[in-house]
């Protein structure tokens, strides 16, 4: 049976786009993830990867269509592709845009600002697509037959984690969340104490089939970059094991990491998770990869 819950990575890189042969396997575009749930298209973040997604959408439906665009937060690497998102310019397309809790009121202003003439030649007003800015209810938001729920994470300026449930399957988009700072005890500096996560976080993630999660740093690198807003391998693995997550896709790859380095990080994470949770799988998110969440 064909899957009705697809997830595609259009951008997997953190911080800044990193084109080139040494990053070709995992990809150089910044964050953009697409989920197709039934007939609904949900897009998470508008990093540079959203440009190719936009081209794909216009090619697929030249007369127009609809999508919902969710922002985890509005740092550069998550909004920079929006001015190059073809459907926004197309009068046949409509977009529902959702911001994160902290910046909900000004997502429009921030998207508008990055299209001011000092930065970009085409103003926001030139967009001919129908664009509506909406809020997500804390209790959950229904889009078609999918339900989208949110939770706040830890990142400078705030960040939102999204969970999508559809027809018994579930996926979470959790980028730029320094979960190390959510720990009640333990962590990379206190290995004897393990990792004690807040119940709210574990409940939110419990049993999801797929999580797309920022894992920018190795444990060693994290010690040098604490409070930069990104977690490390040990903490991500512990969370995946305790929340009994099925498949873990590590993303927001560090711009200084080439494919070989990322592969080593992913292998390390996979080995560590296999010791904690035999049913869990860890993979590296790869630009252009399409998976079925419900298989």
């Amino acid at each position: 049976m064909a899957s009705k819950f697809l997830l595609r990575f259009w951008g997997t890189r953190g911080s800044i786009a990193t084109p080139g042969a040494e990053t070709a396997r995992f990809g150089g575009n910044t964050t953009c993830v697409e989920m197709m749930v039934g007939d609904e298209r949900l897009i998470f973040d508008a990093g540079t990867g959203i440009r190719d997604l936009g081209n794909h959408m216009v090619k697929e439906r030249p007369d127009g269509g609809h999508a919902s665009l969710f922002f985890s937060h509005t740092h550069w690497d998550h909004i920079q592709g929006f001015p190059f998102f073809g459907p926004a310019y197309h009068p046949g397309f409509s977009l529902h845009i959702y911001g994160n809790a902290e910046s909900r009121a000004n997502v429009r202003d921030l998207l508008d600002a990055q299209m001011q003439q000092a930065y970009f030649p085409v103003p926001f007003e030139a967009l001919q697509g129908r664009i509506d800015f909406l809020e997500i209810e804390e209790t959950g938001h229904r889009i078609g037959d999918a339900v989208v729920r949110t939770m706040s994470g830890v990142h400078p300026g705030g960040v939102t984690i999204y969970r999508v449930d559809y027809n018994g399957a579930s996926a979470v988009f959790c980028t730029d969340n320094e979960i190390d700072l959510m720990l009640l005890a333990g962590g990379v500096d206190k290995p004897r104490e393990g990792h004690v996560f807040p119940d709210e976080l574990l409940r939110f993630l419990r049993g999801v089939d797929v999580i797309v999660i920022d894992c920018q740093y190795t444990d060693e690198l994290y010690k040098l970059r604490r409070n930069w807003g990104h977690p490390c391998v040990g903490t991500v693995v512990a969370l995946a094991a305790q929340a009994q997550i099925g498949r873990v896709f590590l993303t927001h790859h560090d711009p200084s990491h080439d494919d070989e380095t990322i592969t080593a990080k992913v292998d390390d994470a996979a080995l560590r998770l296999s010791m904690l949770s035999p049913q869990g799988l860890v993979h590296g998110a790869r630009e252009g990869m399409v998976i079925a969440v419900d298989q």
């Binding site: 042969a21 070709a24 252009g288």
Partner: protein, 135 residues
């Protein structure tokens, strides 16, 4: 970077990720062309000779009409195929029963890179790129 050994036959050295980006116009003018190859490793570990991906789409499956015929009961008749997208090679699952795995990840679609390992049923398929010289 070019590795030491040839892939086999009249073909070319294996190339690494750093040489994937071939300027096709340049290839035409110089008579150097990029080719893709697959090698089948069956469930008992026997490695078949490399096979060039000539026809696109390049269908892999149990069916006798597949471009690469895989004698494996866990493989669907038309299990997955290799396509081209510009200068890239893409793997696409064709609705197989048991799935197409790329380096251990069950995928529906993904861009291929040299060194990638596909798994269908109990068989592995190794993907590589090389150059052919002389047009």
């Amino acid at each position: 970077m070019v590795s030491d050994g040839p892939v086999g036959g009249d073909v070319s050295p294996v190339i690494s990720d750093t040489t994937v980006f071939v300027d096709e116009l340049s290839s035409q003018t110089t008579g150097v062309s990029l080719i893709a190859e697959v090698r089948l490793v069956d469930g008992s570990g026997l490695v078949a000779p490399p096979m060039e991906v000539r026809t696109i789409p390049f269908i892999m499956g149990r069916g006798t009409d597949a471009s690469l015929c895989v004698a494996d009961e866990q493989v669907s008749r038309h299990h997955c195929q290799i396509e081209r997208d510009g200068g890239n090679y893409i793997i696409r699952d064709l609705g197989s029963t048991n799935g197409t795995f790329l380096n251990g990840v069950r995928v529906l679609i993904c861009r291929l890179h040299p060194g990638d390992q596909l798994q269908i049923g109990s068989s592995q398929i190794l993907f590589s790129l090389g150059y052919r010289f002389g047009g």
